[in-house]
């Protein structure tokens, strides 16, 4: 197990190197200039040129890359010229809301999806299955930003029971206030993931329910509930865990639209704003962090396989 983890952690290095080169080239080859964006449309060419020079933007791209990577080895991910704060603080400030939102959305999706998926499998072809299938189709089809806007109109504008936008950190405002502001965005994000996980749970459980050992258990007179929970669900978990892991990654890096609609200062908004103003250092650092998060979540998913199914050896 330890050997496996060490091997996976080491495999991070080439991944991060490739990601860093690709994102660095991509950003620096895109037209646009942070100095010009920073100084505004009324800045003179001399001022823009002076700022470019002092930011090192006139250096060859290879030199700029080496400077950046060299800084990382010294624990310096660079400084945002727009935010004038160290990178670790910028990322920490923005990743908190995204992680909260991701976990909350995933919880909502699991609370809905797991039971619905199991019921749909158990009642295959019956009315319950059809209702759940219709709802999961709707869940997949409705974009999260549209759902978000509809939720705002219903719960914020009409009923006035939940705030329409904004974010309140737990530290400053307490848990309930924190959850209150995240509920609508979490529902809009979670319902789509719920639909995906429901469909995966249904098909996975269905496959297991048709297997020989389930038939044997039934023949031995084991109760349906025990068969479902103890035998079928556990064996159906592997693909479900994979989808949950993918959902987590998708939510972590792809909540941008919902963050914009609900004005949550998360990592998605940070990336979008940074791209728009060409804040190179922030984009590079955030993409690296997201890539790292991606690999770590995949590692956790792989480790969970071993826990869910002891036949899988991680050695």
């Amino acid at each position: 197990m330890k050997k496996y983890v060490v091997k996976r952690v080491l495999s991070l290095i080439p991944v991060l190197i490739i990601v860093s080169v690709v994102i660095f080239c991509l950003i620096h080859l895109t037209p646009g200039d942070p100095a010009r964006t920073m100084l505004g449309d009324q800045a003179s060419e001399i001022e823009v040129e002076n700022l470019r020079e002092s930011m090192g933007l006139n250096d060859p791209i290879v030199v700029q890359y080496v400077h950046w990577v060299g800084g990382i080895f010294h624990g310096d991910f660079g400084t945002s010229i727009f935010m004038d704060e160290p990178m670790y603080k910028i990322i920490l400030d923005h990743i908190g809301p995204t992680i909260s939102l991701t976990i909350y959305a995933l919880l909502i999706s699991l609370i809905i999806a797991m039971p619905c998926g199991i019921i749909a499998a158990r009642k295959r072809g019956k009315s319950q299955d059809q209702v759940i299938s219709v709802f999961s189709m709707v869940g997949i089809s409705v974009p999260s930003f549209l759902l978000g806007m509809l939720l705002i109109i219903l719960f914020s504008v009409r009923m006035k029971i939940l705030p329409s936008a904004g974010y309140k950190a737990i530290v400053d405002n307490g848990f309930l206030k924190h959850i209150e502001y995240l509920t609508l965005p979490a529902i809009s994000l979670g319902l789509m993931q719920a639909a995906l996980i429901t469909r995966m749970t249904r098909s996975s459980v269905l496959e297991v329910l048709g297997s020989d050992y389930i038939k044997m258990a039934k023949a031995k007179g084991v109760k349906d509930k025990v068969i479902l929970i103890k035998h079928a669900l556990r064996n159906a978990l592997l693909p479900i865990i994979t989808v949950i892991g993918q959902s987590f990654i998708a939510l972590l890096s792809g909540a941008t639209v919902v963050e914009t609609v609900f004005n949550i200062p998360g990592i998605g908004q940070l990336v979008v704003n940074s791209v728009l103003r060409r804040d190179y250092e922030v984009i590079q650092a955030v993409v690296l962090v997201i890539a790292l998060g991606n690999v770590v979540v995949n590692l956790i998913v792989d480790l969970l396989y071993g826990l869910a199914d002891p036949r899988i050896s991680l050695e």
Binding site: P31, R36, Q42, S44, I161, L176, V261
Partner: protein
Amino acid sequence: MKKFNKLATLFLSALLSVTMISGCGNKSVSPDSSKDSTAKEESSSAAAPTEDIKSEMHIAINAAPATLDIIKTGGDVGRTIADGNIFEGIVNMKSDYTAGLELAESYEVNEDYTEWTYKLRQGVMFHNGQEMKADDVVASMNRWIECCSNASQMIGNSRFEKVDDYTVKISMEESLMYLNELMATAGQMPAIVPASTIADADPETGLLKEYIGTGPYKFDEWQQDQYIKIVKFDDYTPYGTPGECDARVGYKEAKTPDVYFDIVPDDATRVAGIQTGEYDFIYKLPLDNYSMFENNSDYTLFNDMNGSLGMIYNKKQGISADSVFRQAVNAALDMDAIMQSAYTDPTFYRLDSCYMYQEQLEWYTEAGKEYYNVKDMNRVKELLDEAGYNGETFTLLVSSDYQEFYNAAVVVENQLEKAGIDVTLLVCDWATFLSYRSDPTAFDGFITSWSPVALPTLMNWMTESYPGWVVDTKLIDMEKELNTSTSKEDSLTNWEEMQEYCWSTSLPISKFGDFSMCCVSSSKINNMIYHFGPFAWNATVSK
């Protein structure tokens, strides 16, 4: 079926519980409850609001400014937040677009307008506790001259000097009758800050690290992508007559102790936010939502003319370097169709050929009107033949970040194609747009807007350095003549001739029309002054 019902009930209950527990953390989030508790604690040192008045105001803005160093950078949002609230100038702009004294109590100017002397108000305190003195004013004004291209072009190498602790002067080689107007309406504000903060500016970017001014509010906090908070400055000394404030100039008082500028880029979110009471004022209302708030007593709509839209030609090189070709393009344009596509309804725009505003009576002129909104295809053909047009491509640059610009560009493209001009639309985001715009090989024309200014030559597109690059020496000489004029009558005559010459011959731009920017405030806001944006001072928010 029973099992299914039980399970369904269980899951729905669980989901609703999570939702409702969080939703009921406060009794209600409607209008005010979500914000007041923290604000009262935070603003305990500020003047306590009365029982009927809230201690904080939330203004939702559509974008975060790059910086609040508005001396170094321009931009509407930064000025809305900082100009007058945090920073003040020697003079500032009044509602009639003229300059009024702010940190100066008086000024003197010699007969040929080459030497200006300003007597500063005494006892004006900076937010860091220092008193404002001539050294600070000299450092601030000279930094502004170096940062602001309009200022450096008009003032040249002259710089402000200290006469005594409360007097500064500037001596120039050439006359500058409109120095006050330049300071009041230039794109970058000549904000007065302590000399020490200028000395401590970031060595890499040259930007101020601290936002210390003399205004009724001081900078408190900038939560990235969330809000910028300013709080009442207790040692602010108002000037003028209580109750009289003309736009940025006059008696100012921070009646609401804490003001939040919430950064809300999404239009729909800003609209929902004012309906739920999250925000007291929203900046830049989407025009489609205008009717939602019209004739609704719960809200106040602001719909003042806010700028002009037009196409700036590349005069330096390429197909549009030929003024006859530019005249052909201009003759093909249907300004009403362009403005309607951009601003949907005449409620939000007006057609006008004058580069200055109708409201600026003394500068308003109809000179050159006959060349505006011509839509004459025969004339286009004649001019294209005269220019020797041979099917070359006219590249029209536009930023997709501004929907109205893009809509206008699409109509311009269509109209020019119909007139027989081959057009390529180059659409890109704002950062790319700024880069392309500075490259004379990248475009032939670009769509942009500009704000009203107190002096015609302050319009950026009139300058040699602004993209589009005026190269017509006659026009440059006319600008210089206007800037150095020592008689108001002469300068007005100069301006009339200059506008006529622009429309008839030089055509640096094709102006499409003037447009308004809509904003909405809750009817709970009282005494808010609005002039190209909301001013926080003197305004209160009822509970």
